[in-house]
Every structure is written in C-alpha cells, then in structure tokens.
C-alpha cells in the first residue's frame, strides 16, 4: 500500500485552495465531493477546512470560488512550493 506523507494544516490549506482554484468557475458553485476525491481527506474534515478558509476570507461564502485574497495567497504559495522543489527541499 502506498504510504501517504503526513501533511500539516498549512499544506492541506494550500492543496485545497489549489484544487478549488482548478475546479472553480466564476459564479458556479464548486462540487465538494470532487474536491474531496482530489484532496484526499474525510468529508467532515473537509467541511471544517472550508469553514476556516471562509473565515480567513480566502474563499467566497456561496460559490467557494477563490476571493482576490485567496488568489493572491495561492499564487504566493505555489511560487514558494516551486522554489522549494527547485532548491531540492521537500514540504
């Protein structure tokens, strides 16, 4: 069985925002079950993460699309992850 590396909350937030970004369409609500499959966390925990992201004003309340702040965050997050990959560091 393939071992899944341990992820901290920040990594899960980053992965979740990346999935929401790819799944999201302007004005359309994101389908959570599709997100759950990609993010690989139990549904109840996914809902908790979504609530926390809403409270942080990173995603919209209704559609779960990324807010401007969310888009800025994920852009920075992806750059840092790419930088760490290029530096040969794992996160």
């Amino acid at each position: 069985m393939k071992k899944i590396p341990r992820r901290d909350k920040l990594k899960i937030y980053g992965d979740l925002l990346s999935v929401l970004k790819s799944e999201g369409n302007e004005g359309e609500r994101v389908i959570l079950t599709r997100v759950q499959v990609q993010i690989n966390v139990p549904f109840d925990r996914l809902k908790n993460y979504i609530t926390e992201l809403r409270e942080l004003d990173l995603i919209e309340d209704e559609t779960l699309n990324l807010t401007k702040k969310g888009k800025q965050y994920i852009m920075e997050y992806e750059k840092v992850i790419e930088f760490m990959k290029r530096m040969g560091l794992t996160y």
Partner: protein, 228 residues
C-alpha cells in the same frame, strides 16, 4: 601568502559584490519559512545571511579600515556556520514527524547558541580565541567542504528521484561553492594564485545560479502570467 596582500581594492569590491548577492538571496530564501513557519527552514536564510556576513567581514579586512589581528578568523568562522546552517536545513527537510522537526529546530537553536558562545569567548578573551580559531582555520575549510558536498549529493539525489529540468541547477550551485572551498584549501596550503582566482570565479558562478533560480521562480512566473 602573497595573495592576501595583493589587490586589496579589487578584493574588497569582489567581497562587497558577493555580500550584496547574498543579501538578495536572503530575501528569497526567507519566503519558505515565512509561509510554512517551519523552524528547520530557517537554516536557509540564516545560511545565506551568515555567508553574506562572512563576505562583508572579509571586505572590511581588505578595506583601509582594516581588521584587528585578533579577529582575522571571524570571516572563516561565520562562513563555516553558514554552510552548517544550510546542511542542517537539508538534513532535516524530509523529516516530517514531529520528533524530526523538533530535532531540526533544536539543532538550529544549538548552532545559534554555539556561535554566540564562540563569539563571546572571542570578545572576552581575544588572545585565546585568536590562537585557537586561527589553528582551526584549515579544519573549518574541511567542514565547509563536507557540508557543501552533503548538500550537493542530497539535491542531486532529489533531482534523480524526480527528474525535472528546473531542479538540476541547484546541485550545480552547491557543487560550484564546494569547488570554491576546495580551491581555497589549495590556496591556503600552497599559495597558488590560480587556485585563489578559481575559488572567486566558482563562488560567483554558484551564487549566480542561486540568484537565477530564485529570479525565475518568483519573477519570471509573474511575467508569464502577465503575458497571458
């Protein structure tokens, strides 16, 4: 050591440029820590900051201000700590367990405390430090070489595991820094001028690679998005 007294102005300029490059690199290297708040990743900006400090101290030693003879070892010591900080970051970067992370943070903290104690001894009893640290000079260069070789092998293995054209540059950056330290070791032993020049050239090639990778990651991606 004829090379130590040759071209002081040029060498001061070389060290100042290296310091500026390191300062720019610190700005990039601190980003992973700022995002993740993982203590072990602090070794990356600390490493480049200490590397910059060591070059700045070397620049002061070549300047008309000069450097007290008792503190001539200071650039070597800070440079070694820089490479140890970098090696520690790589050593603990793939330990994702809480214990592993704790051990990494503890090591970084101990290194900072160790450096503080060494500096304290140097300022309280400079004569003792001068004798002890000057003799340690050649050993410190070996430490630098071991740390850089470890990082180069680590990053090369990481690249081999997940081959990607973007990850091949950094191992070369560390290899060039290691060659620079190796050349300095030669220069220290036989005062070879070509080894000394070689060490400066390879140092700049190494730092330029880090700068190139950082710039491409943080700025070129923005430019590409802007073009779309």
């Amino acid at each position: 050591m004829f090379a130590t007294s040759m071209y002081p102005t040029e060498r001061m300029i070389v060290e100042i440029v290296a310091t500026i490059l390191c300062l720019i690199l610190v700005k990039f290297m601190i980003k992973p820590y700022k995002l993740t708040r993982e203590g072990t990743l602090l070794g990356l900006p600390l490493g480049f900051a200490f590397l910059g400090i060591s070059y700045a101290l070397a620049a002061i030693s070549y300047s008309p201000l000069g450097f007290p003879q008792e503190f001539i070892w200071l650039p070597f010591l800070t440079r070694s700590f820089a490479f140890v900080f970098l090696a520690t970051t790589y050593l603990f970067s793939n330990r994702k367990s809480k214990n592993g992370q704790l051990l990494g943070e503890l090591t970084i903290s101990l290194l900072v405390i160790g450096l503080a104690i060494l500096l304290l001894i140097a300022f309280v009893a400079p004569e003792f430090a001068f004798n002890g640290y000057s003799n340690a000079n050649v050993y410190l260069r070996f430490v630098n070489l071991i740390c850089l070789s470890y990082i180069a092998i680590y990053t090369l293995r990481s690249h081999v595991r997940n081959p990607d054209p973007t990850t091949i540059w950094i191992p070369f950056g560390f290899i060039f820094l290691a060659i620079s330290q190796y050349s300095l070791l030669f220069w220290y032993i036989d005062s070879s001028f070509s080894a000394f020049i070689g060490s400066l050239v390879t140092r700049f090639v190494g730092l330029a690679i880090f700068l190139f990778v950082s710039y491409r990651t943080f700025y070129r991606s923005d430019e590409k998005k802007g073009l779309k």
